[in-house]
Symmetry: C2
Subunit: 470 residues, 2 copies
């Protein structure tokens, strides 16, 4: 008897899969010909389950028609919206192998857990954390922040897992901090009123204002729990002075967490960008993503915790049905379920491992460095076209307004219109954000396919769109 959930005809399935693989590789190889396009209006109907069910070539045909064309656009060389990585050909390898071995990374004794340890250890070294530091791969920085702050809270209140959170915890971050921090503080039951937003200047949290606020809170009977530094702010690409934050964290005995979602990867960039994240090695925890500036397939992030014991103490809890053993499948200590939220865990390490083994670390360093160079170039080209930067380009992010001579309202309307027009035409993808009350165009370059020619062509398109709008 065979399973009714295995293909009835393996040869036919094999042929279908090979044909599809060919089309997938072609789509990746010809990424520049496939900009984002809006999903069809009847998308909900097209994707409804059970309306077209069949085995064999029809699924593949539906994928060709309905799925492959309606990607998110971030594979294209002129996509710089939000902070979205490009993806890699090695992800195809990881995708096939991951489906074949189908490992649960929550625990037990199998190769994927060893591989995850290898990826964490490689990252630990790059971030300058000591040997024996701990980590767990997660969907992304948002979840990594939850994990890190739960560790921070346990240090501040050893009884939190049994008794619940005490009143009066406070956290500190620059006013431009990503809202992942706010959401994490909410989820943990601390409440976002506890988040003190410290004014920043030149993209950095003010050190003396931070120290003052901590002391003031403590004098008022509150309990400072964590400072959240930012390596790469999402709006403007700013970097906190992490050494200054580490000094304060140490003096004030407060946990230092760093949101390094993309900016942590300046650690492997060339000068001068590498120095932006100096001091990150002094943090108690770092949250970062591989799917942004390490370019791998979504989703793939990491929580890195300096002290393994603190990490484990914040999450470990295994009942009888999950007891480990010295040998056999129940072996393989430690189990990752003791270091995070999820008990069932897919295989994220494979994507990073395949990428690094296929292309080598050096190629990533070069790509990250080149992205910073392109952002700098974009800043220059913005100015040379009579447009205005709304913030200096310090890393890979460029925010600008197409017509600085108009009123803020008119600029906002114009920039929004240009972003939309270029998305719809497929010429380039900028997203928008608000700086000094102006909705501006924003490029975050975490795209290994982008070239100088792409930057120049995109800014020419901005000028043209501005002309046709104005």
């Amino acid at each position: 008897m065979t399973s009714n959930l295995d293909p009835k005809d393996w040869a036919a399935f094999r042929s279908q899969a090979h044909n599809l693989l060919d089309r997938c590789i072609t789509q990746i190889a010809e990424a520049q010909q496939h900009p984002w396009q809006s999903p069809p209006e009847d998308a909900a109907e097209r994707y409804a389950i059970g309306r077209h069910q069949s085995e064999g070539n029809e699924l593949s045909a539906r994928i060709d028609e309905d799925v492959l064309p309606y990607h998110g656009g971030n594979t294209h060389p002129r996509f710089w919206g939000w902070v979205q990585g490009t993806g890699l050909a090695s992800d195809l390898i990881a995708g096939m192998v991951g489906a074949t071995i189908n490992t649960n990374g929550g625990g037990r004794n199998h190769g994927a857990n060893e591989m995850e340890r290898a990826v964490i250890d490689w990252t630990r070294v790059k971030m300058g954390f000591p040997e024996g530091a701990s980590g767990i791969m997660v969907a992304g920085t948002s979840q990594a922040t939850v994990i890190a702050l739960q560790c921070a809270r346990l240090r501040a209140q050893g009884t939190v897992r049994s008794e619940g959170t005490q009143a009066g915890f406070t956290c500190y971050a620059a006013d431009g901090v990503h809202n992942a921090t706010r959401k994490a503080i909410e989820l943990l039951g601390i409440g976002h009123n506890a988040l003190r937003l410290i004014p920043s200047s030149d993209g950095q949290m003010g050190a003396s204002a931070l120290r003052e606020q901590i002391r003031k809170d403590r004098a008022n009977g509150l309990c400072p729990m964590a400072i959240v530094g930012t390596a790469g702010s999402v709006d403007l690409g700013g970097f906190d002075d992490l050494n200054a934050l580490a000094d304060i964290a140490s003096e004030e005995n407060v946990w230092l967490h760093v949101d390094g979602a993309f900016g942590a990867w300046t650690r492997i960039a060339d000068a001068p960008w590498r120095s932006l994240s100096d001091g990150i090695e002094r943090a108690d925890s770092i949250a970062l993503d591989f799917h942004k500036w390490m370019y791998v397939n979504y989703d793939c992030g990491l929580a890195l915790i300096r002290d393994e014991a603190e990490h484990r103490a914040a999450f470990a809890a295994r009942p009888a049905y999950l007891q480990g053993a010295d040998q056999g499948l129940a072996g393989g200590d430690p189990w990752f379920c003791d270091y995070g939220i999820d008990l069932s865990r897919g295989n994220r390490a494979l994507k990073v491992w395949c990428a690094l083994e296929m292309f080598g670390e050096e190629a990533f360093s070069e790509a990250i460095t080149r992205n910073c160079e392109l952002a700098r170039l974009m800043g220059q080209e913005v100015i040379s076209r009579g447009m205005a930067l709304l913030s200096p380009v310090t890393s890979n992010i460029c925010v600008f307004s197409a017509d600085p001579d108009q009123t803020p309202e008119a600029q906002s309307a114009l920039n929004s219109k240009i972003a939309l027009d270029l998305q719809l035409s497929g010429e380039a993808v900028f997203s928008t954000t608000d700086v000094n009350g102006i909705t501006c165009l924003r490029a975050a370059i975490v795209n290994h396919r982008s070239t100088k020619e792409d930057v120049i062509a995109a800014l020419d398109a901005v000028v043209q769109a501005k002309g046709s709008t104005g």
Copy 2:
């Protein structure tokens, strides 16, 4: 200029990928020849990054040698340890396509979000939730439980996101509840002292004890926040009387959450198993996994929330750089980042969608039903071999002791030894758990490849291992 993170030679890459795909398909098609095997002792060295870096065939060769053989065993037809799904050939399709489109499911306007809505909607219908109910795909039930209980808390305390959790929340579950509930309550800052474990009999939480405890807590000034019902307990496969729990939740005005990690899928099984989860449609929220009893590749779970407004209110928070738009890439409302922890999200829907479209819903119903039949058969075969069930087989889980005539200590040692021996020999995978002070053998059958012959052969192997041990 081409990217240094695209293959230098696409034709060579294409050839490598096709060769690897062939080997992946063969490994899946011949799953019965690939039981779990222990990773090599030098696994840490083998997986270390950068020691063997190369492009081209060498990565593929390393995958053959070091990765494919050391899977977690759950693809094999005689794997019944813990609760781990088998995986599907359609996952290969999903893996390739997911790597190609590389969508971020946090938001914006692209096909993958529509597909996720289709998967959620299909599941909503199966679970009997009303139209307009809400959901979000997550790693698994652990994270889905966090999301559901955060919604429950917001109902009980509207100010929790700003002010943090109030003191005195209490939650209720059967004494055999999965520790995902305990971990969620800890993470939320409520503290596990707030979890009242209600004694169960015949695998069901005692209804009158539950009602009494809620009233007592309320009389003591506490705030009952959520009842957690279980559809499929992890140890014994028991099902709470969900209609009884829904009555109490309604009378007492308390949120009813159901942990349906695997057991929720009895909704698509035949009688009599289907009725086990009757009443689940009355819950306020359900957490469930697709990677268990819907057999898809890890990880893949779902939080289903009855009231979309309550779901959104618990998580939505979008700053300027994430503002939506009517058109273009920033369109596509609602965005999934407003319904859960993660802002960056991979594409889990694709696995479920490809599986259902390739095999059809009916094939899943049959496989789930057959798994229950096999567990019942296993129970009969255990007894006919003079061994003892430690709990009646009610769904897909069978717990037994190989030699009921020995002391509890001796039984525990014997059962542990048998589980280990069979894992190491590759004959079958049982895990162990504790029932009535005895470490017993435990099979959770969520395996579409298992047959009657597998069950009989595995129990013969148990008897043989027992003989050679005793």
